[in-house]
């Protein structure tokens, strides 16, 4: 009886994630092209227009990078949590909580120095995100409740809370019928570096480096990896596995919260349901494509930021913006399939 079995490769090419991403992106472009052709649109024209409108000028490039910032930060948070082999599906909610944290502190405190006030607000954003994941984290370490479900559910709760706040206590009478909180003052706007590029992107670079260090070179990161690999090995090594999982979740939630804070202070300038356009979900795709590598998240996050900007402007030539979403999701799909063949090989076996 000859059967084929899949066996794990002994040695996986170190750049395999990168190659899978490239292949996945290529597959996505092909899928996108087919869809465009069905609609009688020229793929080449569409893609070159998207390219031009997303990175063709200083302004468009800075818009793309601004767009990338929350994707990258939330993606980094997901990657940190994944070091202990846990999944954070709640980045979307944590982004909202980050923004809520900012507004809460903003309306209750006032600092004269706008630099230190901005700093305080960003810290509150981080704390907001961490608080958002607190209940899933406690439920996980104390009772083993599946974090995928709980983090997902917190999204709905937090978005509900946002709707309540912007229709109730925080509703800005000046916004007429649009439910939103009042704008924050110009003194706490994040300044720009050049063009429209916000300082948020600089913070994002800094946090990418920090996440890279945390995951790959710190003792804490090492302890997280062991705890994620086997709780028994962790206990054997004298590592408190549950404690590591708990802090990993809080830090990861904080990253996403910071994304929400930066989005508020640099883009929307007020709390509304439009703080995030699904950044927390796209961030999952970004993190998964890159195999949870911070540098990869930075690069793919930037690309995805550009794709959304490109996608949002091609409406002008009558192409649906969803073409950008299709490309993003197909990239993940393609990359995961290709990655699978990097990790496994098909072998003939005579015996089960």
């Amino acid at each position: 009886m000859n059967k084929y079995t899949l066996s794990k490769r002994q040695v996986v090419n170190e750049l395999s994630t990168f190659y899978s991403f490239l292949a996945g992106f290529l597959i996505a472009l092909i899928i996108g092209s087919v869809i465009l052709l069905i609609q009688d649109k020229s793929p080449i024209d569409t893609f070159s227009l998207m390219f031009k409108l997303s990175i063709g000028s200083v302004n468009s490039l800075s818009s793309s990078l601004n767009k990338a910032t929350p994707l990258i930060l939330a993606g980094l948070g997901i990657a940190i949590i994944n070091t202990v082999k846990l999944w954070n599906i709640g980045a979307e909610g944590q982004i909202f909580m980050g923004a809520i944290g900012v507004n809460l502190i903003y309306i209750n405190f006032q600092l004269t120095s706008s630099t230190s006030f901005i700093f305080l607000l960003l810290v509150s954003a981080f704390v907001g995100g961490a608080i958002c994941i607190l209940i899933p984290a406690v439920a996980k370490v104390l009772f083993g409740v599946n974090e995928i479900i709980t983090t997902l559910l917190t999204n709905y709760i937090v978005i509900g809370l946002t709707i309540y706040l912007v229709n109730g206590p925080w509703k800005d009478p000046g916004s007429l019928n649009f439910p939103a909180a009042a704008y924050v003052g110009k003194e706490v706007y994040l300044p720009t570096i050049f063009g429209k590029l916000s300082y948020g992107f600089l913070i994002c670079i800094f946090f990418t480096a920090f996440a890279h260090y945390l995951k790959n070179s710190s003792v804490f990161g090492y302890e997280m990896r062991i705890a994620g690999g086997s709780e028994m090995t962790a206990i054997y090594a004298g590592i408190n596995a549950k404690q590591k999982a708990f802090f990993a979740m809080l830090i990861g939630g904080g990253f996403a919260g910071l994304a929400g804070g930066i989005e508020l202070l640099s883009q929307t300038h007020r709390v509304s349901t439009g703080i995030s356009q699904g950044f927390g979900y796209t961030a999952i795709i970004v993190a998964a494509i890159t195999g949870m590598r911070p540098t990869g998240i930075f690069l793919v996050g930037s690309l995805f930021g550009a794709l959304s900007i490109g996608g949002s402007v091609i409406q002008t030539i009558g192409v649906s913006t969803y073409i950008a979403d299709i490309i993003q999701v197909s990239t993940l799909f393609g990359a995961l399939v290709i990655q699978f063949f990097f990790n496994y090989q098909l072998k003939r076996a005579d015996d089960g």
């Binding site: 794990k8 003792v219 090492y222 994620g228 086997s230 028994m232 004298g238």
Partner: protein, 498 residues
Amino acid sequence: MSNKFLETKNVSKTFGKIKALDDVNFNLYKGKIHGLLGENGAGKSSLMNVLSGIYQPEKGSIYLDGQKEKILSPDIASRLGIGMVHQEFRLVESFSIKDNLTLSKSNIYKDNFLKSFKKYSEIFALNVNENEIISDLSVGEKQKIEIMKLIFNDSNIMLLDEPTAVLTPQETSQLKNSLVTLAQEDMKTIVLITHKLKEIKEFTEIVSVMKNGKMVAKDLPTKDVTDNQLIELMMGAVKTSTVDKDNKIGQIKLNVENINFIDEVSNIKKLEEINFHVKSGEILGLAGVSGNGQVELANIISGIEKIFEGKIIINNKDVSNKGVRSRKKLNLSYIPENRLGVGLAPGVSVIDNSIVRDYFHTKLGPHLSKNKTSNLLESLIKQFSIKAPNPKAEISTLSGGNMQKLLMGRELVGDPDVIIASQPTRGLDVNAVDAIHNLLIDQRNKGSAIFLISEDLDELFKLSHRLLVIFEGKIVKSFNTTDANINDVGLAMAGASE
């Protein structure tokens, strides 16, 4: 003797290089309880798996009632009336007793379930409602349901793989009564695998013995064989020890005083009044069939298990209330029996696994520098001749022997004062076994105090100066390996009382 009900002829099964079954002939007789004895790894479970259609032998044939049968799958086995209870539970934990008992399509009591359940509950002295969920049952109750499942699936041949290993002595004697009833009244043909001679004596009429994949004795009438004969068959000839044991013995390094331990979950006493010490340069062996408290004892000494009675003293320091790390700092190393899962973390790279013992030391920190860690791994690889081509590869890509060398190397490289080595050569090939033995002897000569836990008597006789035997959580005997008889040790391991 009556006619053979089931017969295997020259059945062979190999796994890679290991001959799990080597031309095995085995007979079963209707309505009798058969004992099957053999050391760990002798091939007992493999033979049962062949009979129940889980493994396909490469060679040999099986006859049922004189008819040649090909048992290609568990399904076919169950149609032929052969059922097996595995060493580990295979019940659906979240289902009720009734669902588990009636799950299989070969089930015969679907219609009059309650009546039969009552009847067999009585035979098994089982006192639970049929709607109870499996996960709420005690271990003993689960075992009864496992066996009852065979009856509900109309198995006439019941293969029981170490069913008593998880039972208390009371539950065991209850089980004996139930099995005798089943054999006599229902004409069930039963195979009982156990490591305890007492159970072979009490339960079975016929006994067979396996060693290294071979059937070394079959169809022995239980009442006519002595414990000594059985042990001799199981153990075979003693290999002569070639290790010099005249090395220098120094001061006491590890002291274990009055350890009592009750398992919290099952509320069963796992260790009772354990006392011993190990000196520098000495190897103290602990012999015993697995599951008699060895893992618990090792966990208590290493600091993993924190709630126990008694004292652990390392290098004259009482560490009973100290954690894993402070014991490591007193230079204790622990090589756990569960290599991948405890000693090494699956899913994590070779290099990460190579620093589990000392990662928190400043010599690597504060930032776990890539250079320092890879230098450390490289020197481990060289010193212990480990084959690990890619440091970033996942640990389970290494062979068992190389995994064990990495684990040993990691734990031994700092010349520890005390070493707990649990089943250090289990599942390894001859060359790897030799390499591991040499490592332990080198370390002994450097002055480590070594506590060696093993099921392999050849290994214990070869390496250790003294030998303790653990049985049901108690140290039942101690020997000097130079003048001990291996059969006496085997008898003590099997719980034979003099």
